[in-house]
């Protein structure tokens, strides 16, 4: 193999599995280290620079980082990254004077944002400091979008949401509440320089089965509509026996909310086996902890209506083949209930976008967009969040918003929107002396800390009683040490190596090998520890000076303990801290205040 090009930021970025997996590429090891040092304000701001909503995401993020976490491959459970993010948010002091601010003098460009959800607010967060005049149109009387109306308060308290949405609006956005945009034509006619659509995917999917429209008592609900009514206080109770159809995260919010509104026999009905559920495993666990029954292999057949009143629902009991592609019906069963909540998905609603404006739509009623720039076929209109490519999650919305903000900025400044800056990186040696590193390199065998919950007996007292209590100081102290410091990279200088084998002998996971060069498959077959994960790169050096062999490192289970660098007599190995610098809108304009001015990192 050719020597690994470790000057390409993408190489080491992929070694930081969590950061790579995060759509917004949050510097996870960086903020965990700041928490470990007690620098909660800095940890919060480092988070915020990438994901904008640390307090919110620290509670309800889909956390793609955790399945990716290297710790999974080391002891089977990931670092509680999401919970630590919440620690940073909970324990940070007043950071308002360190947040970005908008300049007095505006740049004369006006941008309209449709919806005040995570995508639009993140765009505002990036554009306001550059002097844009930002106007937000929001359908409801509060900001937050789905975070407000679809996520129950027992998971995401209102004050957390208020703080993180308001600090963006307070930067100087003009926000019009109770102002749904009913016509894109009219919006465009108002002469904005650019329009960003962050209106989400607000339409709950319908389940057209016999009896669906025969119930006259209003006991069949659409999940996200129902959650919204609960959030606004329009619905305050539900029957005792509730069936939830669907097993995604919305279904989990529906069943747990039902338990708080009077449901005592709440069942989640799933068509497929458990391995194929859409809901995150931790949300399933949280629901089951609240005595919610999750029934598998039940395909809804019809609503049972008697005298115009819903009395139950009929299901086919099915068996699936391997891989759950094909099913066969083995039985039919009727389950009595008072209410049914349909939580089988949501979709976009673009009936307010006239089709003759030049904004093209694809086959699933989603706009035709450039995947990088998020620009629609009408150049001044951009999309982001669930409105762009259909329902995803908050962290994806933020990631897209950063890109859309760059596009809007480039577009408004008359520059090519496809002209993007590359990611850059810095690498800095962490060596402090003999066997001393400026990071905590000891492997800590602690197991993952369990989140404490409010007691089941008290949990249902109020709808807005937050269930998760957050980590206490001791849990935090343990959990931060589980992080393997994947951002502190092992870097190798082949010309210094004397092939003494010291690094190979000391490596606790035997991930190093000195051997004759070959192609990747061949090299992988000759490693000291078997190569079990082809998704993880192998790091290959240039030819070594004495024998012409190469140093090969399997990145898969390296625990970044630094022992190789500690044992290396010639400092051919070093531990260098990798810091990814992702360009944001502000970085595209040398005259503007860059993020490094608002955030000073260690």
């Amino acid at each position: 193999m050719e020597p690994t090009n470790d000057r390409d930021p993408n190489y080491f970025h992929q070694v930081v599995d969590c950061q790579w997996a995060c759509p917004a590429h949050t510097d996870v090891p960086g903020y965990i280290r700041l928490i470990a040092q007690g620098r909660f304000d800095d940890a919060y701001l480092l988070n915020r620079s990438a994901n904008v909503f640390p307090g919110i995401l620290g509670r309800v993020c889909d956390r793609p980082c955790e399945p990716a976490c290297r710790r999974n491959r080391v002891d089977g459970t990931p670092v509680a990254i999401c919970r630590l993010k919440r620690v940073a948010a909970d324990l940070s002091g007043d950071v308002t004077d360190r947040l970005p601010t908008a300049p007095e003098t505006k740049n004369g460009k006006r941008v309209a944002l449709v919806g005040a959800g995570p995508a639009s607010l993140a765009v505002a967060n990036d554009l306001l400091p550059l002097g844009y005049d930002v106007t937000i149109f929001e359908k409801y009387d509060r900001a937050g979008g789905l975070m407000r109306v679809n996520i129950p308060e027992f998971r995401l308290p209102g004050e957390v949401l208020d703080f993180e949405t308001q600090c963006i609006i307070d930067m100087g956005a003009t926000i019009h509440y109770n102002s749904p945009v009913e016509s894109m034509r009219e919006l465009l006619a108002q002469g904005f320089d650019a329009v960003f659509v962050g209106a989400g995917a607000p339409k709950g999917k319908e389940l057209e089965l016999p009896g669906r429209h025969d119930d006259t008592t209003g006991r069949i609900h659409i999940g996200i509509e129902w959650l919204k009514s609960v959030a606004f206080g329009h619905i305050e109770s539900i029957g005792e026996r509730v069936l939830i159809i669907g097993v995604g995260n919305t279904a989990m919010d529906c069943c747990r909310t039902s338990r708080r509104l009077g449901g005592t026999d709440v069942r989640v009905m799933a068509r497929r086996p458990r391995d194929f559920f859409k809901a995150s495993p931790w949300e399933l666990e949280d629901a089951e902890e609240e005595d919610i029954d999750i029934t598998v292999n039940h395909a809804p057949k019809r609503f049972v209506i008697e005298d115009g009143k819903l009395v139950g629902m009929e299901f086919d009991i099915v068996e699936w083949d391997e891989g759950a592609r094909h099913s066969t019906v083995v039985d039919t069963v009727t389950i009595a209930c008072d209410d049914v909540i349909l939580a089988i998905g949501q979709e976009n609603a673009f009936d307010w976008v006239e089709r003759d404006l030049g904004i093209e739509f694809g086959e699933w009623e989603t706009p035709v967009l450039d995947e990088t720039t998020l620009q629609s076929t009408l150049p001044q209109v951009f999309f982001g969040g669930d409105a762009a490519f259909g329902p995803k999650n908050i962290i994806w919305a933020v990631a897209q918003a950063h890109q859309a903000a760059i596009s809007i900025h480039q577009f408004c400044q008359g520059r090519d929107v496809t002209d993007r800056l590359p990611d850059t990186m810095t690498l800095e040696s962490q060596k402090m002396g003999m066997a001393q590193w400026s990071y905590h390199n000891d492997y800590n065998p602690s197991p993952r800390q369990q989140m404490h919950h409010v007691e089941l007996t008290q949990r249902f007292a109020a709808l807005d009683l937050e269930v998760e209590l957050g980590f206490d100081a001791e849990q935090t102290a343990r959990e931060v040490q589980r992080c393997l410091n994947c951002d502190v990279q092992t870097t190798f200088k082949a010309n210094l190596c004397i092939e003494c084998d010291a690094c190979i002998d000391i490596c606790p996971v035997r991930c190093l090998t000195i051997t004759a060069n070959g192609d990747e498959e061949d090299l992988r077959s000759r490693l000291n520890a078997p190569s079990v994960n082809p998704d993880q790169a192998i790091y290959v050096s240039a030819a070594l000076p004495q024998t012409g062999r190469v140093m090969v490192k399997d990145e898969n289970v390296c625990v970044h303990c630094g022992l190789c660098a500690q044992r290396c007599p010639t400092a051919a190995w070093d531990m260098e801290k990798f810091e990814l610098d992702i360009p944001y809108a502000a970085d595209f304009d040398l005259l503007s205040k860059t993020r490094s001015d608002t955030l000073t990192r260690s």
């Binding site: 491959r73 080391v74 002891d75 089977g76 002396g433 003999m434 066997a435 001393q436 000891d442 492997y443 065998p445 004397i498 092939e499 003494c500 084998d501 010291a502 190979i504 002998d505 000391i506 606790p508 996971v509 035997r510 520890a529 078997p530 079990v532 004495q546 024998t547 289970v557 625990v559 303990c561 022992l563 500690q566 044992r567 290396c568 007599p569 010639t570």
Partner: protein, 351 residues
């Protein structure tokens, strides 16, 4: 400075041996030798060797004297027995231990100072007696622990770190062994585990004293230009004409014989040493030819490595002394030391 530890990583993919142990179970304490020391590689090779032959740690005895090399038994097989003796005195301690319990597998680790200077008299007698043990001589040509003076194995003309050339003739442990009647003589290089590990296995299997002279560079005091025991010198001057495989007897059937096998020597336990290549006319059982071969290479400034000499008819110390098959340590005390009445009777028989 906090001393480092090598963590146990639960899910690390590590193969298990017949005893269900991983190579990590054959490790010892963390080495406190200089980073890059050849001895640490030898330690790793020994660790790997005991793992591969599935030796129960409780059946191993680790012995050493004084010196950098003699620290290393601490760094492998933490579950083994051990004795760290006085300088140069590993050989008599080993002889005593072996006399007491012949059932244990003994490994002695020594250095060029410990074996060829202060302990050479003992080593010579260990060879004569053919004590059944593996004797690893970690040879770096300097006294590392006292900051790099030439040792008795330093070659004439080899330069110290300060540039001074050695003028005193070296002692070659292999040539010494040939003249003292040693029965298993090998040389290897710490930087070549592929060669060293089979040699270590053969050494354990050998009945009698197996001496492996391992050139193990001193990274701090003898790894510079002008040194004849540096990593670079060894890589440029090592002659591996004699290539060997060690085939344990359990694998004998499974491993097909190749036509290229130049020589094959069966050991007493049924395992074989298979010589993949030897130079034309070379016979590892012919003491004279071996001596000529080593001298020839030495004169050319080359270091011949491999299993250089093997006496398949080796008779070890217990056979020489006609001791019982069972370990003396297991013989009841009354039988081992039958008391003054019996002594008197024996003395009486000499009158």
């Amino acid at each position: 400075m906090k001393s480092p530890t090598k963590p146990i990583i639960p899910l690390a993919v590590l193969p298990k041996n017949e005893l269900g142990l991983t190579v990590r179970d054959y490790e010892g304490a963390m080495s406190t030798l200089c980073a890059g020391c050849g001895h640490d590689s030898v330690t790793a090779a020994i660790t790997q060797m005991f793992f591969e032959i599935s030796m129960p740690p409780r059946d191993i005895v680790k012995l050493s004297g004084i010196g950098c090399s003699s620290k290393t038994p601490t760094y492998f097989v933490r579950g083994a027995h051990g004795f760290n003796s006085a300088h140069g005195r590993m050989a008599p301690i080993a002889t005593g231990a072996n006399a007491a319990n012949r059932e244990l597998t003994m490994i002695g680790i020594s250095g060029d100072g410990d074996s060829l200077s202060i302990g050479m008299g003992h080593l010579a007698h260990l060879m004569r007696r053919n004590v059944n043990m593996l004797y690893v001589l970690e040879n770096n040509g300097v006294y590392g622990l006292t900051k790099g003076q030439f040792s008795a194995s330093a070659d004439i003309g080899s330069r110290s770190k300060r540039g001074v050339a050695n003028v005193v003739a070296p002692i070659d442990p292999i040539l010494l062994g040939l003249s003292m009647g040693a029965t298993f003589l090998a040389r290897s290089f710490s930087g070549d585990k592929a060669q060293l590990i089979p040699l270590l296995k053969a050494g354990v299997a050998h009945r009698g004293l197996a001496i492996i002279d391992v050139i193990s560079p001193c990274v701090t005091f003898n790894d510079h230009e002008g040194s004849t025991k540096s990593y670079r010198f060894m890589r440029e001057h090592e002659i591996k004409e004699i290539e060997t495989d060690f085939v344990p007897w359990e694998q004998e059937i499974a491993m097909p014989r190749s036509k290229d096998d130049a020589k094959e020597i069966t050991m007493h336990d049924g395992s074989t040493v298979r010589f993949r290549s030897v130079p034309e006319g070379y016979d590892p059982r012919d003491r004279q030819k071996v001596e000529d071969y080593i001298r020839e290479h030495r004169e050319r400034g080359e270091v011949a490595t491999g299993l250089l000499y093997l006496n398949e008819d080796s008779i070890e110390v217990h056979e020489l002394n006609n001791t019982p098959d069972v370990a003396l340590a297991k013989v009841p005390f009354e039988k081992l030391c039958p008391g003054s009445a019996v002594l008197a009777k024996i003395q009486e028989s000499f009158r």
